[in-house]
């Protein structure tokens, strides 16, 4: 029930999924409340909506004396706080941890456990009044953002498009979303000069919703919640335009080239030392699929999640 104008379409179906899944999960409803202490989560702004809901649910239904605080400095910045001695307990990430970062964890002397929490579709959004760029090929999209794409105006993409300058935007380098885009899609080629990179997703939403020539990319969740203000570009990966949706952004589904897993990283040593951290990790693994849909993510396959539960149980 936290969507905006789009409640009828998404939320209801999600609630159904949620309740179905709840039946399969005995742990959820029993609030045992025997743990206390705090759990500190930082990192991805993309993952924030999902993890904040998980954390809130955990505190309301599971352990009311445990304080789970969730911040959202962005994936990379979050790792900065995570990969130090006495850092945060969890770091959400919208890209995979890098080798250098893992090395830092080693240096700080603790073990990191990676948990995928959901699947996210990198979504390109345009203004509601933009009636020409509603369907673009993957290559055309890349050419808009690539520094060498040779595209400045819409008409540079296709001659029938307006002769107007394109305003390309995206989250800034603090964000995993940026890095995913930069590394996996642009293959580490620089972004176009003059791209407007912002810290806050809300700024991006506003910018595009008010700018006919704007185009921005970010996680699917930020699009779902702003369908009244934005429209998504349907991407043609070679087999015709695909609309990003919960159904299409699965790992094997049609939107897969722009789909990426999102993660949370756990400081294993802290989980061993602090039962509430471990407990929250378990809760997350057990319940994250339940909340994925309503926050704009596609859920992971159940087996994958179950594997985490087993690993975590082993830490007890």
């Amino acid at each position: 029930a936290c969507g905006s104008g789009n409640e009828e379409t998404t939320t209801e179906s999600n609630e159904q999924t949620a309740s179905e899944q709840t039946e399969g999960n005995e742990t959820t409803e029993e609030a045992t409340a025997d743990l206390e202490g705090s759990v500190v989560v930082d990192g991805s702004g993309t993952v924030y909506p999902l993890m904040s809901v998980v954390a809130e649910e955990y505190m309301y239904t599971e352990q009311e004396n445990v304080s789970v605080e969730v911040s959202r400095a962005g994936t990379s910045a979050g790792f900065g706080r995570f990969l130090v001695e006495d850092g945060t307990d969890f770091n959400n990430a919208s890209r995979q941890i890098k080798d250098e970062e893992l090395a830092e964890a080693d240096a700080a002397g603790f073990e990191v456990m990676e948990m995928k929490v959901a699947l996210d579709g990198l979504t390109f959004v345009i203004n509601k009044e933009n009636d020409w760029a509603t369907e673009l090929t993957k290559e055309e999209l890349i050419s808009i953002f690539h520094h060498d794409g040779g595209v400045e105006k819409w008409s540079d993409i296709r001659p029938e498009f307006p002769d107007e300058e394109i305003h390309a935007m995206g989250p800034n380098e603090n964000h995993g979303t940026y890095e995913f885009f930069y590394e996996a899609i642009l293959e580490k080629e620089d972004l176009v000069d003059g791209v407007n990179l912002q810290q806050e997703y809300s700024t991006l939403v506003n910018l595009v919703s008010e700018d006919v020539n704007g185009i921005a990319f970010f996680g699917f969740g930020y699009y779902v919640n702003n369908q009244d203000k934005l429209q998504a570009v349907n991407v043609d990966f070679g087999d015709g335009p695909i609309e990003p949706s919960l159904d299409t952004i699965g790992e094997e589904a049609e939107y897969a080239p722009f789909t990426r897993p999102v993660f949370t990283y756990l400081n294993v040593d802290k989980a061993k030392a602090n039962p509430q951290v471990l407990d929250f990790a378990l809760f997350t693994a057990n319940n994250v699929n339940e909340f994925a849909g309503q926050t704009g993510f596609a859920p992971l396959p159940d087996e994958e999640v179950q594997a985490y539960v087993e690993v975590l149980e082993g830490l007890k």
Binding site: S4, M59, S67, V68, S71, S202, V205, Y222
Partner: protein, 294 residues
């Protein structure tokens, strides 16, 4: 020989008077401009927010779910922050003011401190945030807890309290302290028994005004770092916390995620403005009621 042509003067007179009347109108309109903006601002905020203010909102926990989100955590955080700021600034501010007004000789030390205070008053609040981050959060390793935030805010509003206290102390007529000295009281006895009680209303007024400044400040706490989602209520000065302006900040930013957050932000602004209004009213009451006529 006449230089001043009376007829000409007479002719120009009407134009000058008209210009004067016109200017007066423009000046009045300018004055009203600020007030109109104020009215619009308050109207906007209230109309967006008032529907969301109810007991559950005021006493509830924070939530990502707009319907059940409450601001008790932020209110308590604000109160805890005040619990640090009020005594610290009063102690430092009044102490400094007493030193400057009663002890310091008008010399180098006096002018260094005095100049320093007026400079400090002009330092942007965000710079205090960096100071707090570097000293309290990191070097002293408090972390981003109430104590660190409170100490940072205390330094930020210190000049306000110092200046107000100085004025209050200076306003205590010399003949009162002379009477006390004349009885053989020592300086400290005179300060403690005569000057401070007489200056108290002025000092309190300044302290309350400084508190209301501290309550509204956001920038330093952004730098210090306040979690976006923190549900449990703070219970002591070493707890992490959020405050009303930070909640407004996050809700404003996230309004693109959940549209109702904009209403929550507006509702929180209403609460914040009411708190500020109450504080300022108290300050005015103290100023009017307890001000002694000597």
């Amino acid at each position: 020989m006449k230089y001043v042509d009376t007829a000409l003067v007479q002719k120009k007179m009407n134009g000058r008077l008209l210009l004067n009347t016109f200017a007066k109108t423009v000046f009045l309109l300018s004055t009203l401009f600020g007030l109109v903006v104020l009215a619009v601002l308050i109207y906007r905020v209230v109309s967006d927010g008032i529907g969301w203010i109810n007991l559950d909102f005021l006493t509830g926990k924070l939530s990502t779910n707009a319907d059940r989100a409450g601001i008790m955590g932020a209110i308590l955080g604000t109160l805890w922050l005040m619990a640090v700021v009020a005594p610290v600034t009063m102690f430092l501010g009044v102490g400094t003011a007493i030193y400057l007004e009663c002890y310091a000789k008008k010399g180098r030390i006096h002018s260094i401190i005095q100049t320093n205070i007026s400079n400090l008053a002009g330092v942007p609040s965000i710079v205090f945030g960096i100071l707090g981050l570097t000293i309290f959060v990191r070097a002293m390793d408090f972390g981003n807890v109430i104590l660190a935030g409170g100490l940072t805010m205390s330094l930020l509003v210190l000049p306000i309290v110092v200046v107000a206290s100085q004025e209050a102390i200076r306003a205590v007529p010399a003949h009162l302290s002379e009477a006390s000295f004349g009885m053989g009281a020592t300086k400290w006895q005179t300060i403690k028994n005569i000057i401070l009680p007489a200056a108290l209303p002025g000092i309190l007024t300044g302290a309350i005004l400084s508190l209301s400044r501290a309550i509204g400040e956001t920038a330093p706490l952004v730098v210090i770092g306040i979690p976006a989602l923190l549900i449990p209520f703070p219970g002591g000065i070493m707890d992490r916390f959020t405050i009303l302006p930070m909640q407004i900040y996050y809700w404003t930013l996230d309004s693109s995620l959940v549209a109702e957050y904009a209403n929550l932000a507006a509702a929180t602004i209403v609460v914040l403005l009411v708190v500020l209004f109450l504080l300022n009213s108290i300050a005015i009451v103290i100023r009017n009621k307890f001000q002694q006529r000597y």
